[in-house]
Symmetry: C4
Subunit: 220 residues, 4 copies
């Protein structure tokens, strides 16, 4: 059998894929906090020394917060696009696995940006990873739309949704470039980008009818 065609096979239930994905998402967001190490103090009882040390951790707290929001946004949109699929085939399982691989990678650039917030390469790498994750998400989304969409939902999909999703890729990429001029601008862009698609796109109003209230709230 030809190597690529075998990925079209398989009709897997979505619930174990969701369980595996939810596990990875949940562990990623929770591991992020492990990078926040308790500072070493000379005087264990000194509140002022601890206070100063905690202030120096601020970039780490900020990196943690940004990554948490971004991963949660991916989780919510992942939830949305899996809800579009009628079933899973092996191709989708592997695209999902590769997407999750780079989700699970997120703690590394997060820690690096938190450790070296003034280093343009460190701040820049964070954006590269996020842009790449967005790209992998788009590939998974497009694959589902093309191959696995539930017939009853096919009409409601915005035909330009994939194009619109590149807003995130572009925005992170601007952050990647900006980091070499001002890390503060890059941080700001990384905080603002998740606001695009902070919730999944609404169903498209079909010409001549519009989407009914029921369709608007169709259970995923």
């Amino acid at each position: 059998m030809h190597f690529l065609t075998r990925f079209k096979r398989g009709e897997l239930r979505l619930n174990r894929i969701e369980a595996f994905s939810d596990g990875v998402f949940a562990i990623v967001v929770t591991l992020l906090v492990l990078e926040l190490k308790v500072p070493q103090l000379h005087d264990h009882a000194s509140a002022s020394e601890l206070g100063e040390q905690l202030l120096e951790l601020l970039p780490k707290f900020l990196s943690w917060l940004i990554s948490f929001i971004i991963v949660c946004k991916f989780w919510l949109n992942h939830h949305h696009i899996l809800g579009l699929a009628h079933h899973a085939n092996y191709g989708m399982v592997w695209l999902n696995a590769i997407f999750l691989m780079f989700q699970s990678f997120v703690p590394f650039p997060t820690a690096m940006m938190g450790e070296y917030p003034s280093n343009p390469l460190a701040v820049s790498m964070f954006g590269v990873v996020m842009a790449f994750n967005t790209l992998l998400f788009i590939v998974l989304h497009a694959y589902i739309l093309r191959n696995l969409i539930k017939p009853e939902l096919a009409d409601q999909q915005d035909p330009r949704i994939i194009l619109k999703s590149f807003v995130g890729v572009v925005s992170y990429s601007i952050g990647v470039a900006a980091a070499w001029f001002s890390v503060h601008v890059a941080f700001l862009l990384y905080m603002l980008t998740p606001l695009f698609f902070i919730v999944p796109p609404p169903p498209r109003r079909v010409a001549g009818g519009g989407v009914s209230d029921a369709a608007e709230t169709t259970r995923l």
Copy 2:
């Protein structure tokens, strides 16, 4: 579309939200133990040296125990309030995500209090984080009561339940202040506070009838 109104959209099934939340809760409570490091011994075979070192770990054991109980209590009450909701919308998903973000933060102040139990700032910060978590929980609870409650459960809710929930915020806050006078009093308050709402509140007895036994034990 106005930025805030889009959060009212969506009718998500609760089970994936529960799975994600349960994953975060389970990882948080299990990660707590990673802060308990095996002590370094000069004489590897010396029971007395190990014994002394373990005694010095007592504040860490105590911090671990307190946090474990607190997070389990949050899990149980989270289970309860999600059981009140008819479905989830995007607003609830994000309030839940922010709540989980600060649940996943718990290992940091726990480690800090365990490392520096005599430092008033370290002990105080623990209470600040717990008070803030309680506050986020109250916001999620209030949002569900106002927007998403199952019609059949609406009458059984105690109208003052949100007000009562502030007992926890106040109690942790007293601990925060007490830490600057006596860390022992603060530890004690942190241990006692979870006893409020150690189980979710019972359904309210409706005037003129009272709640039936069946309602008392309605499956969540």
Copy 3:
């Protein structure tokens, strides 16, 4: 309302309790491996140096293996006793939480025994924790049998099952004592103890009939 009676309330579905418990079990067994640190080599390319260092890790591998088997056994028996319950009340939730708390504690004594296999206190503590975990499991089991058992399964339970379960407590306790004379005997006892109840007990043959094949294989 009296403090203790409120624990009798609640009729929770078992699936979220199982999900939370499974999460904790899965994380505990997987975290165990984090104690196996890659050894530091002077000559990075030297196979013989790495080989010697790996041999010194043998006690850690052994501790990891013992703990993995023990936690899996707890998981299987936990699965069994939750299958006996008709529903969960708050008392069961909290007994379960305390049991899970000490399951999540297992990586600490495992690491300690792996680090100091010749230290009688370290080896002894491992047994103390396992005996205590067995005790907490027995309490949970007894609570379910007394308060929450499915009516159709009540007759099949061996009335002396709780008594028999103390075999584990006694066996670990002998290991605890043995550690002070010979750590090897203690290790051996810790390896053998999980063989009791390596599978949950069979349903009791009811007098005058015997259990049918169907009952023998009743789905949990």
Copy 4:
């Protein structure tokens, strides 16, 4: 009762076994990234120093990537073979637990190969662990085929599937040997081996009929 026969007992639902397994798989793949430590810099703001240090991490990135793909492949095939089983008995639960034990071990040889990519023992050990994991998977697969297969799927199974699965064991073993001559060849073999059975085998075409399209896509 004879020690071994008791493992034939039990008729457990598969969903909690899946949940436990999915938890372990998800944690294993996510923990892999913890071995990627942020490098220590002398000049925190130096992009060139960070760049050089990241290049030195390349073997670790590669090890992480290889292990991620391998574990995902195990997850997918595990999903497949559990879908063949009608139910689980205690024998299957324990074979599954032992398989998961060595899945959870994967981060250790991954970290070792990433740390010492030029050390033949380190690279060799990675293959040993993967060959052993494949062997444990084959045992579980064979056990299900012999004891627990759903009657309607029994005819569709390729009778030589177990034999074919040894391709993986052989391929990893060649890598184990190759590591002593060239670590690069070993790395290459470890990357190529997961391509066998990158998706589960298709159902066998039954003589005189062939498998229908419906059977080809039978929901697992």
